[in-house]
Symmetry: C2
């Protein structure tokens, strides 16, 4: 069902490297096609957007305004849901909002010994574009997990885009847009949607940053528009790594691995344990439970391609392997998870203890489920309020405190051969000295 | 000397757009050559790095180890400087370090009403690469402004690279590396240096993130390696926008504009004022002072190409224009700058009051001088401790608090058609319910 590795084997390091291999840069053909699409939208605006949406999504409309989904339509989608579905969306939204309201967001100010005041000001972005995948899968949860941190940050205008191939709209996605409070929504997707957000068209407003997950064309387009607009991260396949000491029921672990594997064929589910018998028991549960799941074929495929059980000597070694993987999701399904938490340096989200199933993080715990994948947790972060803010430095030189800064600046500017820099500092120094 | 715009003119908006126009994406030829270089270094490691460094920088060595600049050599460069230069580097470093130590860096933990604990953990990156431009200009200040925030963040290993065309090393740059405390330094540059940091070679260690300014090839390479490694931002030409009410001596403004314009031919210096007579007086001072500066030719060129004085109706309009420009550096050379600070939304660094010359920010005030350019201050931030940290979510579901999260997760997973997700939550719910 899925490969078994043992850290004691001679070829283990190479086998693990091979298992984790993922080409992060999009294929040249994808990148070139994305670049062509971007250039078309940039040059022709709405006309290109209409043409590309007709060609790639099979959605044919007369004018770009028809691609906009009105606020009233979002509200109608929400109102049309069963009452229980409405309450669940709102309850999840309330939890996600509250979590993000706890994020520290302040700047600071300090005063040096010369009376100069220096600080940092933190302010929200003006306008943000959120990409919500659509088509084969529709994820209302992703709407909440991207729009709400932006709203908490104080972003003035949130513009959501989502493809509707052949006109298929997800009522849940539209309803989630209503609950999260997007300002404008457009039924466009792919590289053309990213281009429209990055450069603006007659109908789609230009945004300051594009966030949200997407496929290879969206990833390639985000890479290319980075500069004129900000982007969050280049998304790759989703992963989970579970460290288990055998204290959790094996069928829990089986379902946790499945819930990662059912995302897509590239998803990666890894279970690391010092107890080989336990791995056998989890695998037996996997065999028993797999037929009960609607996506069994996909799960089988992704487990065979990229899944693994890894037997290790002890939990310390399990933590080392987790750090090597730097997984998007890390479950510490351990009797004493806190004893090991500090041994973990790299993970997008950490689920502490067996009751903390990764699925809770996908939907309802509170933190955004937009997380760094394929090892980028080594440097990248969970989507947060901070991603919708920017920091500006504030420098207030005091008349009597400026000379100290000025003298250093003159000397360093001279060392760098920048005489205008030196003169701009020196002229103030001279006038200060003349006055005292 | 530099163009004059008036916000009351009919064509003002178009003229301002034209003045600010900057193509952020690198030219296709540059991007393709950068991609080729990256592929060579990735495939061949040191061999490619040696070949490219010989070809592009004219530096020919036998083995890649010779490209490393030993810590002892950095220290010797520092020791060889005049005592005053050593003290200035150390004093500037102390100020920059202290400023960054004030940055808020903590995570948080909250507890919901069900006993679940949710939080965010903030940890430093393991290994960072810092690109220091070299060759025509050598900027020891950039070493301090990039390495010190990384050190304050707690990065374990900082690797610096800097090109040494034809073997020309800057003693000040090497000395600054010693003062800032880089762990390893390599005399390589360009796209090949970015590739070596991103993928590692036999000699150059793979890093988690590459930061620092560079030319078009460095920018193109950073864009391409984003994913396997993090990057800070895509750097463009440097800008200043000064809002002046006429209270600052005109020759101060002249020198502040020059100190921006002397960076390179694409640098942009803008002066915005409601008083046209004042603009005349500043221009007269510019004519008088320009011949005294060593880079007069370059200053003349960049002012003619991209500089401007802009007459406005009032300071409110000046602030609106500043927000449209979203400049890297904004000087509020005003009698009452604090009255206007809140009117400004977008700027990389704000210099408050006439004594706060931008040049102080370049060298000695404290905040990093690595700032978002060409309008990217709309979404991007000054280089900070936060750029060398990452945030991980922490989810600790409590046995008795998990059911609330689980019920929401089951419903949302069902709405998304993800039955394994629903099952992973449901199995815990059932066992919790069976136990109580």
């Amino acid at each position: 069902m899925l490969r078994r590795l043992d850290s004691a084997d001679a070829g283990f390091d190479a086998a693990l490297d091979e298992l984790l291999a993922w080409e992060a840069r999009e294929a040249d053909a994808v990148a070139q096609e994305a670049a062509r699409i971007i250039d078309e939208v940039r040059a022709e605006g709405d006309a290109a957007l209409l043409r590309l949406t007709a060609r790639l999504d099979g959605v044919r409309v007369q004018c770009a305004a028809e691609l906009e989904v009105a606020a009233s339509e979002l509200e109608r989608s929400f109102a049309a849901l069963p009452g229980d579905d409405r309450r669940v969306l709102q309850a999840a939204a309330a939890r996600i909002r509250r979590y993000h309201e706890h994020e520290p967001t302040g700047g600071f100010e300090m005063r040096d010994e010369f009376g100069n005041r220096l600080g940092q000001r933190v302010t929200p972005l003006d306008r943000v574009g959120v990409y919500i995948p659509g088509g084969q899968a529709a994820y209302p949860s992703t709407v909440l997990m991207t729009v709400l941190p932006a709203r908490v940050a104080g972003v003035r205008e949130v513009v959501a885009v989502t493809p509707t191939p052949d006109g298929r709209q997800s009522q849940h996605v539209l309803a989630a847009m209503h609950v999260a409070g997007v300002d404008r929504a457009f039924a466009v997707g792919g590289a053309q949607a990213v281009a429209a957000l990055a450069y603006g068209t007659e109908t789609v407003p230009k945004v300051d940053k594009v966030v949200g997950p997407g496929g290879a064309f969206v990833a390639a387009a985000k890479r290319l528009v980075f500069g004129p607009v900000g982007i969050d991260l280049i998304a790759g396949p989703s992963e989970i790594l579970i460290i288990a000491d055998g204290s959790a029921p094996p069928h829990w672990m089986a379902l946790d691995l499945f819930s990662q594997a059912e995302h897509d064929a590239d998803a990666q589910a890894l279970l690391v344990a010092p107890d080989a018998d336990y791995l056998d028991r989890v695998e037996a549960e996997m065999r028993r439970l797999l037929p009960t799941l609607s996506r069994a074929e996909l799960i089988r495929e992704s487990l065979a391609a990229r899944g693994a059980m890894i037997a290790v000597n002890d939990l310390a070694e399990a933590c080392e392997i987790a750090d090597r993987v730097a997984p998007e999701h890390l479950q510490l399904s351990l009797r004493e998870p806190d004893a090991w938490l500090d041994s973990i340096r790299h993970a997008g989200a950490i689920f502490v203890g067996s009751w903390s199933a990764e699925v809770l993080g996908d939907y309802s715990a509170g933190p955004s489920h937009v997380l760094p994948t394929f090892g980028t947790a080594r440097y990248a972060s969970v989507l947060s309020v901070a991603d919708f803010q920017k920091r500006s430095s504030i420098v207030r030189a005091h008349r009597n405190g400026m000379p100290e800064l000025g003298r250093l600046a003159v000397k360093l500017a001279e060392a760098e051969g920048l005489t205008a820099h030196a003169a701009a500092a020196a002229v103030r120094l001279r006038e200060h000295n003349a006055a005292v």
